[in-house]
Amino acid sequence: MNFSEVFKQTNQLCKVSPDGKYLATCVQYRLVVRDVSTLQILQLYTCLDQVSHMEWSSDSLFILCAMYNRGLVQVWSLEQPDWHCKIDEGSIGLVSSRWSPDGRHILNTTEFHLRVTVWSLCTKAVSYIKYPKACQKGIDFSRDGRYMALAERRDCKDYVCVFVCDDWHLLRHFETETQDLAGLEWSPNGCVLAVWDSCLEYKVLLYSLDGRLLSTYSAYEWSLGVKSVSWSPSSQFLAIGSYDEKVRILNHITWKKITQFEHPAIIDNTKATVYKEAEKRPGVGSDEMPLHNITMGATLFNTQSKYEICPLPVQIPVVKPDPDRASPKIGISVLAFSSDSRYLATKNDNMATAVWVWDMQKMSLEAVLEQTSAVRCFQWDPLRPRLALCAGNTKLYLWSPGGCVSVQVPTEGGFQVQSLNWHCSGDSLILLGKEQLCLCYMDTDQEDKFKGTRCRLLECSFFLSGLKHSQQTQHSS
């Protein structure tokens, strides 16, 4: 495993083009495009203000930079650097901007969700979609980019509009049986639309592309309901995370619950492996470090850590949420299927330090990763069953069915990983700190990777012990 040097970025705006060739980052009001393999700057664009949102078009030819506080969107072309496009939403304001799947239209949502403006880059035409609903996830494009589902609110009722993205033809428009629609998501095959109600009511509705209601699912009443929803890449499973700290898995034939995954505070499932991160504090006399070693010291201050396999049963630290406050920190907030739909990773908000990995074939708990600090972000490798996670510290953690490693990011100045993104090839990871970013290159062979990591860790510890030794000799002299 190798790490690149550190680059600057702001607002964690850093994205790899969909074809995987370029890396775009925003630094203040500048947009920098680099080659992923060489990391050399290919293009540099200057925007009118600090960028709040940046997005690649699906064909990797254009980059959209939105400046929400100015109500402006600027589009840059990679092929023609002198080509420019500026969309001004005027005094109506802008809260969200995105590409349509064809990469030739931009959808802007105005302030107060007054409307969605669709700008065409081909014809300069503008069209409006009224009554968009302000909710968790009000717009979703099908994976093949053909259809767009939009949540609508009119006359105090929820509707769903299905548009054909080609010419923004309204294909279907139907009322949903929801109290307060919170989100919608297409199945990966684009044939089923999952719609869920706000957390006040546990209700998940499944609509066919042609607007037929396929099924309704509700696990319980009265208490807070759905918190997160995720389709498996195979469209076979729909995972629903809820406030009762459970994940329910629906199947795609009967839309009934197959199983439910509970997140108990005490794990005694003998089939599961519990990896617990154990920290080791290095040197004692670090304050007496000689001056010439100060640069090395930066890494030294960071604690080493490794995973230990805990004997069962294991108690996971639980934070009891305040019941009087709205949207309590409890329940399954993040759900992610691995690319082969074999594993499901979940995070329960009142057990912020743990990530749970479930085996979807055995329908059982596979592993639990207990970190020393709260997990910030995790993402599956787009090609392999490999989970990368970060916890707001200087380490990167990787889980795969074979085991679990913790890797120190060997950068200066205490690079704290806040977020991460896989490169689409699964060969590298983009680690995002507060104002920095760094690339982490995986060894292509998975077994080599783990060996490499271990070697590197060993090197690291050897280096440390050597350093300590030298300190001691200096002391004695």
Partner: protein
């Protein structure tokens, strides 16, 4: 004692029966003789006739052949008559003794029954108390249940109320929210209007030059045709999705069907290969299930047929046959199970599957067990014998019923020891008795000689009738004083009679110590009873009571007799 009185009644009635001739005699005698003497010079003839009458009424030969001929007494006949009378008396005594023993036994029985009754009564009392306690508890529990039910009802009502509250609030909130949303929408509209009307800062797009579509085509007009095309495309995607799904399901089904078929084949092969063996077993066992076997054969054939017939259309048949096979397999397995269990007890060859070592081990184990059992039985028998030899039968019975062998053995040993001691004491006592008896016999001999001389003297001086009544009286009296004779204080009767009586009890202790004797000895040594274990003491108490009662009763009988006599006297006077 209510029981003893009944016994006494019976005995007294027998006594009355026996004394009735005597009474009659005494009546007549007293009628004739105011002096109270039975026979005098004047009424010899009458007496003779009376006696002969009495004797004949006993069924004996009369003492003289011709009663009216003269006063001469045929001595031989008289003696014979006397001898017969004595014999009769002896027999009477013996039967009396037997009856007394019987009575003692029944008395002890009665005591035991009484004891058990009291015990049972106590138990009844206890159980009654328990019952009332339980009833009380039940009542309390019922009260508790009732209160809990009330609580539950209240809670349910509360829940209902709260739910109603929640529902009403929710509807209120929804209403409010809708109102707000409507207002909000109105505001939005207004804002939109204002923004559209406002000219100075409009939405705008500024593109250097238009770019081509990603697919390179020109955009198309929105027409009916386009709409239809979109619809068509949508349905196409849906159709393709359903198509793929159907294909997947078909594949899955095919696979499952394959698995089913495979399973079926395996089942059939297993069952058909196992069957001959099973048949063999059956024949060994007597072939009782031949009919069912035949049935199985038929079923097998039909299933095979269905296998051959199998195709996509015969799906139902397949599932049915699988079900059938499965049922058969299940029953077969069950049968095998039962066979295995039966083969373990019997000696069938099918148990070859079980290795020989385990058999041998099992055998060894069983042998050991048998040996243990035998030892156990032996010990039991030993104890039983010990118990049987000891005189307390009821106890042995009760002891046998519960076999706490080790404890009992020890206890019995102790008892045995104490009994042994008692026996020794008793032996000593008996020796004393025999010595006393010998002394008595010596004295008796002397007395006999005295009497002989005296009798001779009397006989020579007086008429033969003058003292012939005395021995008969003494005999009748001695019959009731049989057990009192051991009492030294009971020698109130004239010495003469005591000496005469001592003959009969002497032979009893010399031959074998009867239970009565043992009781007597126990009665004589009451101090020992305190040292004995509890049950023993009970027994001793019983016996002591029994012994204590016996003389009293005898005395009472005497009293009764006296009373009857006195009554007769009164009536005669």
């Amino acid at each position: 004692m209510p029981e003893s009185s009944t016994v006494k009644d019976v005995l007294s009635s027998s006594v009355e029966c026996r004394t009735s001739p005597l009474r009659r005699f005494s009546l007549s005698a007293l009628h004739r003789n105011s002096l109270g003497v039975f026979c005098s010079e004047d009424n010899v003839q009458e007496c003779l006739s009376h006696i002969s009458q009495e004797v004949s009424s006993f069924g004996l030969r009369p003492a003289w052949t011709e009663p009216g001929s003269g006063s001469e007494l045929n001595i031989v006949a008289a003696l014979n008559c006397m001898y017969d009378l004595i014999q009769l008396h002896r027999r009477g005594l013996r039967t009396l003794e037997n009856m007394e023993v019987e009575q003692l036994k029944s008395n002890s029985n009665v005591d035991f029954l009484q004891l058990s009754t009291t015990r049972l009564k106590e138990q009844l009392e206890i159980s009654k108390r328990e019952n009332t306690g339980l009833l009380e508890r039940e009542r309390q529990l019922q009260l508790k249940v009732k209160s809990l039910q009330n609580c539950l009802k209240n809670e349910k009502e509360e829940v209902q109320k709260l739910q109603n509250v929640i529902a009403s609030r929710a509807s209120q909130y929804n209403h409010e929210m809708k109102r707000k949303e409507r207002e909000f929408n109105k505001l939005k509209e207004r804002l939109n209007q204002l923004l559209v009307d406002k000219k100075e800062k409009k939405q705008a797009i500024d593109v250097l030059n238009n770019i081509g579509r990603a697919d390179g085509k020109r955009s198309l007009w929105k027409t009916e045709k386009m709409e239809a095309k979109h619809e068509g495309e949508m349905y196409k995607t849906l159709l393709s999705d359903y198509d793929t799904r159907q294909r997947e399901l078909q594949l899955e089904n095919a696979e499952l069907r394959k698995v089913l078929q495979q399973m079926k084949k395996d089942m059939v092969s297993i069952l058909s290969s196992r069957k001959p063996a099973a048949k063999g077993d059956k024949h060994e066992h007597g072939g009782t299930q031949a009919a069912s076997e035949e049935e199985d054969d038929e079923a097998f054939d039909s299933s095979k047929e269905s296998v051959e017939l199998y195709c996509v259309h015969a799906r139902e048949k397949l599932t049915n046959s699988i079900r059938l096979q499965w049922r058969r397999l299940k029953s077969h397995v069950e049968r095998l199970d039962s066979q295995v269990s039966s083969a373990q007890t019997g000696e069938s060859k099918s148990t070859d599957a079980v290795p020989r070592e385990t058999h041998e081990e099992e055998m060894d184990r069983l042998k050991l067990e048998i040996q243990q059992c035998k030892d156990f039985i032996q010990a039991q028998q030993q104890l039983l014998q010990q118990q049987l030899s000891s005189p307390c039968d009821e106890e042995t019975a009760s002891l046998l019923s519960d076999c706490y062998m080790l404890q009992e053995k020890e206890r019995l040993g102790d008892e045995w020891k104490t009994l042994e001691e008692q026996r020794k004491i008793f032996e000593r006592e008996r020796r004393n008795f025999t010595e006393a008896a010998i002394r008595l016999s010596h004295e008796r001999k002397a007395f006999e000689e005295d009497r002989a001389t005296w009798l001779k003297h009397q006989f020579l001086n007086l008429s033969p009738f003058s003292d012939s009544k005395k021995p008969s009286l003494s005999k009748s009296k001695s019959a009731f004083l049989i057990s009192a004779e051991t009492d030294s204080s009971a020698a109130v009767a004239p010495e003469k009679f005591i000496k005469h009586r001592s003959e009969s009890p002497r032979c009893v202790p010399l031959t074998s110590p009867s239970t009565a004797d043992l009781y007597r000895t126990l009665c004589l040594i009451p101090e020992d009873s305190s040292t004995k274990p509890k049950r023993k003491t009970e027994h001793v108490e019983e016996s002591s009571v029994f012994c204590g009662n016996a003389p009293v009763r005898h005395k009472r009988w005497d009293g009764i007799q006296d009373r009857t006599l006195s009554q007769e006297k009164n009536s005669s006077i």
